[in-house]
Every structure is written in C-alpha cells, then in structure tokens.
C-alpha cells in the first residue's frame, strides 16, 4: 500500500515560476513511471505573483487514489516529506500573499524530513538562516547559483533536473532513480539533462540538523479574528500618520507608519546599503521607493528600513551619486538593524563595515551561456576547496 509523499517547492514569484512548475510536474511524471499517481499544483493564494515574492508549488505522490484524496482539495499539505528552496535566501523565512506572518522555510518539514536548498553556501551557513525545529530534520545542498531562469522565456540552467536527480537520492519513497531519469529523458528529450540529473544524484550529500541548531527567533505571526470580533462592512484599519525619528538627543525627519502584519522583506535577495557621507540629500531614493521603505533621518539623509524593503534596487538605480547606494547580497546580513544608527554610533566602524559588505555582490543564474559554465561557477564559489561539477 504505502502512503502519500508530499513535496513543497518554495520559490521566487515570476522569476522561478516555470522552474518550480517543472520540478513539481517532474516529480509526478517520474513517480508515474514507478506506477504511482499524483497531483501537482501551485499555492493558489500566491497568485497573482509579483517579482520575487515567495511562492509555493507542491507535488503529492501516492500509491493509489484513496491515499491521494487525503491531500486533494487543499491549498497545501499539512506537512511535507521534502521541502525544496530554490533560492537560499528563502531560508531566512517566507512571507507571501497567501497568509499572514513569516513562515520558517522548514515549517512544514516533518521529523526526519528533508530540506533541499540550491546554494553556493556551505550547509553549516544555511542552517544558521533556518528557524529551529523541535525535532531533527535533514538538509541537502545542491551546489549552484540561485536560478532566476524566468517565466516567459525559460533560460534553462539544469537546476530543475539537478533537483529532480537529488530527490531520487534524498527521498527514495518518492521515486527511484531509474524512473526519474526516464522521466527527465522523455519529458525534456535532452541527454545532457539526464547526465545533470544523474550527477546530482551521485553528488548530493545530506546533513542532519538537530533541534539546537538554527535561528532561535520566533517568527512574527498574526491571529485571525472571528466574525463576532471583526469590524463590519468589510472595513479594516488604514495606515495612520508616521512620526519623527529619534536618535540620542536628535529628533527629526519622518518615519512613516508601516504594516506590522505584512513586512515584505522576505522578497529580498539583495539589500541597499547607504554611504551616508556621500548622500547629497536629493530625495530621489525616498521618492522613487515603491514601498516607502526609507525613513528620513534627522540629518535629512535616507535610511533603509530593512523590514519594509523588498530589495527591488530602484533606489540604487535612481541615486545620482556613485557608490552612495549599493545593492549587496542579502546573505551578508543577519538582522534588520538601522544602518543610519550604526553610522551615527561609530562612523569609523561604519566605513570599515561598508567597504567589507559592499564587496558582496549578488549573483544570479539566468541560464547557460557556454558549456562548462556550471563547473566554473561551482569551483569559483568554493574558491580553493576544489570544484565539483555536474552535468551541464
């Protein structure tokens, strides 16, 4: 008989939609070749997707219709055997249109279940981003730059089949390698993809994550009201006026009120960093930011509120001063603290930090441009530790 196996794919809206769909369909089509049945679907409330907003896809595989029905007519499974994060920065937590509050990336991973992450970071670094679980689970890292392969034109870099190959290894209950490779060959009709899937199967390593490991933070959440306690007439509280910014004796500027229940930062893969000494107070970043995420400081400079910023990079694009606002890889940060307060506290320290942090530029994969690119990327990201390639 057996039971249903649930796979969750957490991805960046639009950029990775086709990638996520390829993975969820690939799982069901491969399992079919092992004689199982399944369903593949997106998290309905995530749509309409916005660029980069965390979103989810699912694949559920079962030995028969009765087992599968338990998971049908639902938005998402209660728990997952496998959760796949196709961008390592999603490991900091995900907030979507579909629910309120921040969900840990591993929220649905069951005990001894597995979290699969594509990343150039070592597993130990990824564990630090992930919220703690009360029980052990496993982590597999598939080496690779996050694939932002696109929606309308899918620029393939084999991330889809590399994940599928790894799944056969980390969750044999789901599908065997032979069925997976057959599905890859028959669905994509590309022998190189089969090679990529097989190599990924061979190279994927698994690490156990214990309950005392990971981010100890309790993610923010939201209690939904009942019909007797809700305001009537489909009305909700609107945003109130903001207030001045205070630092020490300094009071001034303006901090707009922000939605405490929808913060948006989990959309971000890169963060703007401001060199306050270079700021000419032109106001352009503040004016152009689509999310009102800049606080006006009492110095009349502009400070990024890292909880409200979704990392779109408009501020850096419109800033007329060279290297005043720099977009930095989100992996370089562990908190949402004010840059301006840090600057005001110790300008020397801030200058040192700024130099160090702005060297960390984000890298995204937008498909292959030449053969051997993947091996080069992996070797580069592991600088010195020796690259191990895989397929194309």
């Amino acid at each position: 008989m057996g039971r249903a196996v649930s796979v969750e794919i957490v991805y960046r809206g639009i950029y990775q939609k086709t990638l996520a769909k390829n993975i969820s369909r690939g799982v069901v089509l491969a399992a079919r070749r092992d004689g199982k049945i399944g369903i593949a679907f997106g998290r309905y409330g995530d749509s309409p997707e916005r660029n980069g907003v965390p979103a989810k896809n699912f694949a559920i595989v079962a030995p028969n219709q009765d087992e599968l029905e338990l998971s049908m007519a639902q938005y998402e499974p209660q728990e997952t055997d496998v959760t796949i994060s196709v961008d390592d920065m999603l490991c900091k937590g995900v907030e979507s249109w579909a629910w309120y509050g921040l969900q840990p990336i591993n929220q649905k991973v069951k005990e001894n279940g597995i979290l699969v992450v594509t990343s150039t970071l070592p597993a130990d670094e990824i564990v630090k981003f992930c919220h703690r679980k009360p029980y052990p689970y496993r982590l597999a890292v598939i080496p690779g730059i996050p694939s932002f392969s696109g929606l309308w034109v899918y620029k393939n870099d084999h991330t889809d089949v590399r994940i599928l190959g790894a799944l056969a290894k980390v969750c044999p209950d789901l599908v065997g390698l032979d069925a997976m490779l057959r599905a890859v060959k028959e669905e994509w009709k590309d022998d190189l993809k089969v090679v990529s899937a097989r190599r990924s199967y061979e190279q994927t390593e698994i690490r156990v994550v214990n309950p005392d490991e990971g981010n100890p933070e309790i993610p923010y959440s939201f209690d939904l009201p009942g019909w007797t306690t809700m305001r009537e007439g489909v009305a909700v509280d609107a945003m109130v006026l903001g207030e001045p910014v205070t630092f020490g004796d300094q009071v001034g500027g303006y901090r707009p009120a922000r939605n405490p229940y929808f913060k948006k930062f989990s959309t971000r893969t890169m963060r703007p960093v401001v060199d306050f000494d270079k700021c000419v107070k032109c106001t352009l970043c503040w004016l152009q930011c689509p999310d009102s995420c800049f606080d006006v400081t009492p110095d009349q400079t502009y400070d990024v509120n890292a909880e409200a910023c979704c990392g779109c990079g408009v501020c850096a694009a419109v800033c007329p001063v060279d290297a005043c606002i720099t977009m930095v890889n989100e992996a370089a940060f562990t908190d949402h603290k004010s840059q301006w307060e840090r600057y005001k506290t110790d300008k020397q320290e801030y200058a040192t930090w700024l130099r160090q942090v702005t060297s960390q530029q984000p890298e995204r994969s937008h498909g292959f441009r030449y053969r051997g690119q993947y091996q080069e990327q992996i070797a580069k990201s592991r600088a010195g530790s020796g690259g191990e390639g895989g397929g194309e």
Binding site: R32, I39, F41, E69, A73, Y75
Partner: protein, 409 residues
C-alpha cells in the same frame, strides 16, 4: 468500407496527461472541435482561456478565439456564434459571470446550446479568489443546465457530455459546467484523454435545423414581445429543461459504452450508500475530504455514506428523493449561501428538503454551510457534520436552523 479505412490507427487509444481541470476542459474543446471560443480574463476561469490560446498557438486547435472587452460582450459574442450554427464555448468566474448576466439570462429562451465553464469563485468585494458556488447558482432559475464536477477527468468528460446534451434538438439549452476554483482549475492530475475518433462517435455535428440564423433561412431572433407572447416562450424553455433529463440519461449510457466511464446515475454519485444510515450530500471537490472520512468511519464500523450531486439543473428530485428517503439522517453541505432562505439554509439543502417532501419516509435533514470563499472543508469539519447528522437522526427531528462549519466566532 475497405480494410484501410477501418484499420485501427495508433492514435485510437487514450493518452494519459498531467493536466489541470481547466486544461481538461480546454482539451475537450479541442476534441469536440469548437468553432468559436470567447474569452475575458478573470481567475480562476482564465486558466481555460490560457490553455485554449496555447493550443491554438501551437497549431493543435483550429477555432475562432475572440478576447472580448468584457464578460458581457464575451457572452453576447458566444451567444450569437451559437445562433448561426457555430459550436461555441465561453466561461467566467465570480463577478465576471455576474457582469455577463444580461446575456446569460436570455440565452436559454433563444435556445442556444452554449457551453460555459464557471470557475467557481466567491463574489467580491472583498477581493477573494476561492471557490464558492453562488456565482453559478445566481443563474439557477433561468433555464441553464448546471453541472458540478469534482475531478479534472470529470471536467473533460462532462464537457463532452454537455455538448451532446445541449445540442440535442429536444434540449437546445446552455450548460454551465461548474469547476471549483483552485482545487480543480489550478491543480494538475492524471487525466485520460480519449482519441478524437471516439468523441466523433459520441457527438454528432451541431445542427440547428430551421432555427439557424443564416441568409438561406431568413429569421429574426428575439423581437419585442409583450404579455401576449412571453408565457408560451417560457413554457417552451420549461419543456426543453424537462426533456433534458431523459437526454442526459441517454447520453450517459452511450458515453459509458464508448469511453468506459460513468457508473450509476448521471445525476448524482453514490459512495458507500448501500447499507448507509447517515449520509452527507454535497457538490464539487468537497467530495475529497468527505470520501476520506467515509472510509475512516467505515473502518470503525459506522454506516456512513456520501451522495454527490452532479446535475443540479435539471434536478433529479425523483431519483434523489427515492435514494435519500431510505437513510436515517441526511446532512447537506452547501458551499453557498441564500441569506434569509427557509431554515437559513444554503441552496442545496432546501432543494433536498423539497425532493424529500413527497416521500413516505422523510429522514431528518441538517443543513450545513461551509467552505465559503474557498476555505478548505477539512477532515474534522466532515467528522463534525457526520456527528451532528447522526444526532439529528437519533432525535428523529430536523433542526430548524442551519449550522455554519469552520467559521471563527
């Protein structure tokens, strides 16, 4: 016929595909060779127009594909296409369906066999995408045939059935195929896609006969009428709806013969009802959690079952009344509301009460409202409904109020 013409082609077998409910309907429009498809985007219905557009762009489907400037025009265009003898398809969801209401309301009297997919969606405001059956049910009383499906396979099969029934000259009425938003429209499952030749055997050409709007057959459709004409027109539409029941049964039998699917009554599906004491009744994908709970309770020896209504119009009051009258208690799950209705019930519960009225045995009926706005009907929800229905059965009395399930107080 020579041997070559009768030889079985390799394509004459069913193919399995991993497709959503909307895609299944899109595939069906290809199989029945729809002539005119009209579209206007609103989710979850818009998945149908996307898949149709793709089929046409990929050269798999040859049809006029018209994206209108609103749902009102979308339904008007499809209606007119149907009048000139074109096989037509349209559809919508939620308030989009409501925006087309003027066209929807007049289609049955003109006897146009238009098929619409309703991707069931809550009526906003407030903005909501989830499934709720009030959109389709708003057109409950107008002469449209209404059918609810619960799998992508059934969505495909029912689209074939819908054309067959609607285009029967005894019927010539439009059909709304209701598919639950998200759970059907946006979920891919394994579907058997029949070969075109099987469909050709099942579905004859659309022939409007002397009702076709064509220069060779000069007629005027829908002139002004007053009180001296309209009642007879309504009577004709009513007669057509009465004929539909028999035509559905005929078509269902033939469907089973050709496609090998379709057991029992075409109007409703019975699940573990043979020796059942307590049953739930509902429409659409809430069947999934109900079937799971039926199996679990059966394992514990409880005699429970489920009746899923497929065709809501025409409503098989005789068949349902006969089947339901033999149980001890009946719980009806409405994924809709009808504020101020008798017993504060949803729409389906009062239809069931009416169907039971002429029966000698009238078991207690409990009305439930749940799953609104696409909220999941959960396993605990279903257990609660079975419990409450059993209690009513034990008391021997129908409660005079309706129970909302899964709502936060």
């Amino acid at each position: 016929m020579d041997a070559e013409a009768t030889a079985v082609q390799p394509a004459e077998v069913e193919q399995e595909a991993l497709i959503s409910g909307s895609e299944a309907v899109a595939v069906a429009t290809k199989l029945v060779d729809v002539d005119v498809l009209t579209a206007y985007p609103i989710r979850p219905y818009d998945t149908l127009m996307q898949y149709v557009a793709k089929q046409i762009a990929d050269g798999e489907q040859d049809a006029e594909y018209i994206v209108a400037e609103s749902e009102h025009s979308q339904f008007e265009i499809a209606k007119h296409a149907s009048a000139v003898g074109a096989r037509a398809m349209c559809g919508s969801s939620g308030v989009g369906w409501c925006y087309a209401f003027e066209a929807i309301a007049v289609t049955p009297a003109l006897r146009l066999p238009l098929i619409a997919m309703v991707g069931n969606r809550a009526l906003d405001d407030p903005g909501a995408f989830g499934t709720e059956h009030n959109d389709a049910l708003a057109a409950r009383d107008l002469g449209w045939l209404h059918v609810w499906v619960d799998t992508a396979q059934e969505a495909l099969d029912t689209t074939l059935m819908a054309y067959r029934v609607a285009e029967d000259h005894r019927v010539f009425l439009p059909v709304a195929i209701s598919t639950d938003g998200a759970f059907l429209t946006h979920s891919q499952s394994l579907v058997k896609v029949p070969p075109r030749s099987w469909v050709d055997r099942f579905l004859p050409k659309y022939d409007r006969g002397n009702m076709v709007f064509h220069p060779d057959n000069p007629i005027t459709i829908a002139p002004q009428v007053n009180e001296d004409w309209l009642m007879e027109i309504r009577m004709q539409t009513d007669q057509a709806m009465r004929h539909a029941s028999g035509v559905i049964e005929e078509a269902w039998k033939e469907f089973r013969g050709i496609f090998g699917r379709g057991e029992g009554s075409p109007f409703f599906e019975e699940y573990y009802t043979d020796d059942a004491e307590i049953v739930l009744v509902g429409m659409g994908t809430l069947s999934m959690p109900v079937r799971v709970v039926v199996r679990k309770l059966r394992e514990q020896g409880q005699k429970v079952g489920f009746v899923r209504i497929r065709w809501f119009r025409p409503f098989d009051h005789e068949g349902l009344g006969r089947v339901l009258s033999r149980f001890q208690g009946i719980g009806v799950i409405d994924r809709d509301f009808s504020m101020g209705a008798p017993f504060n019930s949803g729409v389906v519960a009062n239809e069931i009460r009416a169907a039971l009225y002429p029966q000698d045995r009238r078991p207690p009926v409990v009305g439930f409202i749940g799953g609104l706005g696409g909220r999941e009907v959960t396993i605990p929800n279903v257990r609660e409904m079975f419990d409450l229905t059993r209690k009513a059965a034990e008391s021997g009395k129908s409660p005079t109020d309706t129970v909302w399930i899964g709502v936060r107080a």
